[in-house]
């Protein structure tokens, strides 16, 4: 279970991310270089604090294996999403990406604080379960990015169709770039989710571990949605707006899976 000190630091990190998101969102109405720098500084401060919490927590529990419990896992997920968002913004500028990823990061860290305190789960440290966790959470991370970029795609597409709005606000990236990022994230996420699902299935069948039916149904739903998204090169009538909408739907289902996992007695399976 996390200590009060770790939780306090985590709440400060959450505050940093929330501030970063708010400052970044203000750029929607008025683009200022100062705001961009402030948002970035707050975001990185949150990352640094999150890493300190992780290190402290691992030192306290005496294990350095990542994803050892749900507190550790949700922080990992949040920080990786934040770092990945910063990386994408640096290499392929998509100005609004952090408007969507920062709230998810904030929620993940808050969830770590809440569930880590009220529903602490020690994850089973077998290889199968570890691979299952890493691939499932990695997939979720990629889908969060795909969903965020999908929302941006829908906004840009709406602006271009409205015409009068097309030149309003900051440049959120071209449709082509957004579609590419969505597709890449989905491809990575889908591969990881598939591994996660197979390893989960093996644990379920061969190791007779129990899990929630809702979790299985939602996971299959996420898998099918992203299978459709990946289907777009074969059936191009899916490309564009439909792909973006499916990505967003997939993220919503994925959030449902994550919530169920946190509410289950032993973190989804044991």
């Amino acid at each position: 279970m996390p200590t009060i000190g770790q939780l306090t630091l985590l709440v400060i990190a959450v505050a940093f991310f929330a501030t970063s998101g708010a400052i970044s969102l203000s750029r929607f109405w008025h683009e200022r270089n100062g705001a961009r720098i402030a948002a970035k500084a707050c975001g990185w401060s949150g990352v640094v604090l999150g890493v300190i919490v992780l290190l402290w927590h691992n030192a306290t529990r005496g294990s350095w294996l990542p994803l050892g419990d749900n507190f550790d896992t949700l922080i990992w997920l949040g920080l990786l999403l934040a770092v990945f968002s910063f990386y994408v913004q640096r290499t392929k500028p998509i100005i609004g990406l952090d408007w969507f990823t920062t709230p998810i990061v904030t929620l993940l860290l808050l969830a770590a604080a809440i569930f880590g305190r009220t529903q602490p789960h020690e994850y089973v440290s077998t290889t199968w379960s570890w691979v299952h966790r890493v691939s499932a959470y990695g997939g979720a991370l990629a889908f969060f990015v795909a969903g965020a970029v999908g929302v941006l795609y829908l906004i840009v597409n709406h602006r271009l169709r409205d015409k009068k709005l097309a030149m309003a606000g900051p440049n959120l990236g071209s449709l082509e770039r957004l579609e590419h990022v969505t597709f890449t994230s989905t491809t990575v996420g889908f591969a990881l989710l598939t591994i996660g699902a197979i390893t989960g299935f093996i644990q379920l069948v061969f190791k007779h571990e129990h899990t929630s039916m809702a979790k299985i149904v939602l996971t299959v739903g996420v898998w099918l949605v992203y299978a459709l998204v990946l289907h777009s090169p074969i059936n191009p009538s899916f490309r564009g707006r439909k792909t973006a909408m499916l990505s967003v739907l997939g993220v919503l289902l994925m959030i449902g899976v994550l919530v169920i996992v946190q509410l289950m007695p032993a973190g989804g399976s044991h």
Partner: protein, 438 residues
């Protein structure tokens, strides 16, 4: 005495779907001028038709033809469009307001894109076209010559056309919102409109993977392809080119849409639903508006692009004020010059009449003074001449300057003729000059 009239509609009074119904291409403009001259042979006319406006400038005798209603009917009959469909979008102007409007138009102050230089060429073309049809004379010749000179003055003496956002640059900005890179994209240009060439110039700077130039006239297409380092493409295979294209720039003079929804929809599958950016710069439009409703099709017409451009105009108020000052001064100068020209003969008659009256009275007086010397006679003659000049000085100055610039010269002239009985005088002098008079 001539009257100046203007009847027209523009981007501020009429939407594109009305403007395109009344637009004239070069051939239609020539035909319209001939038809106009045939019907109203005593009047002068210039027809200005651009993507933003259709305006008919007319000079005719005060009580002559065409009247405004006849001008409306002329436009309606030529395009076979019921007048009710566009009447509410029309504006009409008279006399000084016509001059002010034309000078404002030619200076691009009335354009959607402030500072655009194209309008100057378009006004010049309209004037040349009217000259070829012998449709301009003593009134519209000096008016349009002065207008072109005003346009040049505004472009050279103000910064109106500096730092402006052009339709071409806006089109490229839009393309960048759809596509990330262009080295694997195909740009297709259909037609050879002037704006389209400007847009094409901007797109070539993006180094597209392929540039296809499609024109009904193969030689023109070949020339353009050479100029822009592109590949000529045949108009007959337009559907095939549309399947390959990622960006389409179209500006033909076709009176009907060349890309319809029913033609384009089946191509979507062949295109594998790739996004396509279509820039329709033609008026009338080349692409049916409903094509823009299709998935992954982004269709922009000239109004859509110009709307964005116009939002940047408020940032150049200094240049606009300088341009307006030039236009205002030139309008005053032209109206004063025109008034002097119109009033000249009447003022001459006025002087002649009153000097003649004075001479008659002087002669009568001199008969009663037989002992008067020649020197004294000279003094008296000079006195009467100066009295007449002084009496006429103020009214004539007022007539020449116009006083209230908005009062029609015709109104002044009419008053002058009535007050000083100049018509009787003119008729009498005509009778005197008549070979049949005794």
């Amino acid at each position: 005495m001539q009257r100046l009239l203007l009847l027209g509609l523009n981007h501020t009074t009429a939407p594109l779907d009305v403007r395109e119904k009344l637009a004239f291409n070069a051939q239609q403009a020539r035909e319209a001028m001939s038809a106009f001259r045939e019907r109203f042979s005593d009047s002068e006319a210039v027809l200005l038709s651009t993507c933003n406006r259709v305006e008919l400038y007319v000079a005719r005798a005060v009580h002559g033809h065409p009247r405004v209603e006849e001008m409306v009917e002329f436009l309606s009959a030529f395009h076979r469009v019921p007048a009710e469909r566009f009447r509410t979008h029309l504006y009409e102007k008279l006399e000084r307001d016509v001059v002010a409007h034309l000078f404002t138009v030619v200076s691009s102050l009335d354009s959607m894109v402030l500072g655009e230089t194209q309008i100057l060429g378009q006004v010049r073309s309209a004037y040349d076209s009217a000259r070829e049809a012998s449709a301009v004379g003593a009134i519209l010749n000096p008016l349009f010559q002065r207008a072109i000179s005003v346009g040049k003055q505004v472009m050279t003496q103000t910064s109106l056309n500096e730092g402006r956002v052009s339709v071409a640059s806006v089109a490229v900005d839009y393309a960048r919102k759809i596509f990330d890179h262009f080295n694997d994209k195909t740009v297709l240009s259909i037609g050879a409109g002037e704006v389209a060439q400007l847009v094409l110039q901007h797109f070539t700077k993006l180094a597209p993977g392929k540039l296809l130039i499609c024109n009904r006239d193969p030689q023109k297409g070949q020339d353009l392809a050479q100029e822009f380092n592109g590949t000529p493409a045949t108009f007959e295979h337009l559907a095939e080119h549309l399947t390959k294209a990622d960006v389409v720039i179209t500006s033909t003079g076709s009176p009907h849409a060349i890309i319809t929804r029913s033609d384009f929809e089946p191509l979507l599958k062949q295109r594998r639903y790739r996004p396509i950016f279509i820039i329709d710069l033609a008026v009338p439009r080349d692409v049916e508006a409903s094509v823009g409703d299709l998935e992954n099709v982004y269709l922009y017409n000239i109004d859509d692009l110009q709307h964005v451009v116009s939002t940047t105009q408020s940032q150049r108020t200094d240049a606009v004020e300088s341009a307006r000052a030039i236009v205002s001064q030139q309008v005053d100068d032209f109206v004063a010059w025109h008034r002097t020209r119109e009033m000249g003969p009447a003022i001459d008659r006025l002087y002649k009449r009153y000097h003649a009256l004075a001479q008659e009275e002087l002669a009568r007086t001199l008969k009663k003074l037989p002992q008067i010397t020649d020197a004294e006679k000279e003094h008296l003659a000079e006195l009467t001449r100066r009295i007449v000049n002084k009496l006429l000085h103020d009214p004539i100055t007022a007539l020449r300057s116009g006083g209230d610039q908005h009062t029609s010269a015709a109104a002044y002239l009419h008053a002058l003729e009535k007050l000083f009985a100049l018509n009787d005088d003119a008729e009498k002098s005509k009778e005197d000059e008549s070979p049949d008079s005794p």
